[in-house]
Symmetry: C2
Subunit: 123 residues, 2 copies
Amino acid sequence: MTGGAQFTQTDAGARYEVFHTDCPARDVVDHVTSRWGVWVLISLRGNALRFYELRESIRGVSEKMLAQTLRALVQDGLVWREVEPTTPPQVTYGLTEFGRDIGEPLTELFDRITRRLPPRSAE
Amino acid sequence: MTGGAQFTQTDAGARYEVFHTDCPARDVVDHVTSRWGVWVLISLRGNALRFYELRESIRGVSEKMLAQTLRALVQDGLVWREVEPTTPPQVTYGLTEFGRDIGEPLTELFDRITRRLPPRSAE
């Protein structure tokens, strides 16, 4: 026991680095697991969505917070953004290859949590 | 295309529910993926740690935020807390079975992010 995080799997070195506040991976982890980032990534797992579709699919998110979350994910290379030159312009978001790669364990995490919790009573 | 999140895997129904703000799973997902929750769960993957060891292992977390994060994770049943009746009392935290179950995809998520990013330059 060394008083730090112990790992038995691969990439232990890389993982240690992430605990430093100045590590670039920490920013991405923070964006992925941000208040709304996780829901955006999970919502986009199936197919690309327009901004208003995303907003409808994620209950409780404000337009401002959703825009801010998407900006960070686009910057990280997890989400692509496409603007159709219509009036008004249509903006579509989808997962990049990196985003899809991340989406897998994120969905698994999600499933494991929902499986453990008691089912919601019918309304 | 229905304008909502599309899923092709199992548990799609359960997953849909989590998007509702009043779903209990959403609280747990929010705690797991909270600013510090993800680091606590990853730090505890290898072995149980004392409060001060956790604080040392996660750079940048304040004592107050760490205590708050741990309280939520204990309440969710992801982390156990043991107090040794010494002077001063020693408090140890570790992952429950649920916590270890969640830790797996969380570590995978973590690995996939760190693998994609350029290595940090040596200091």
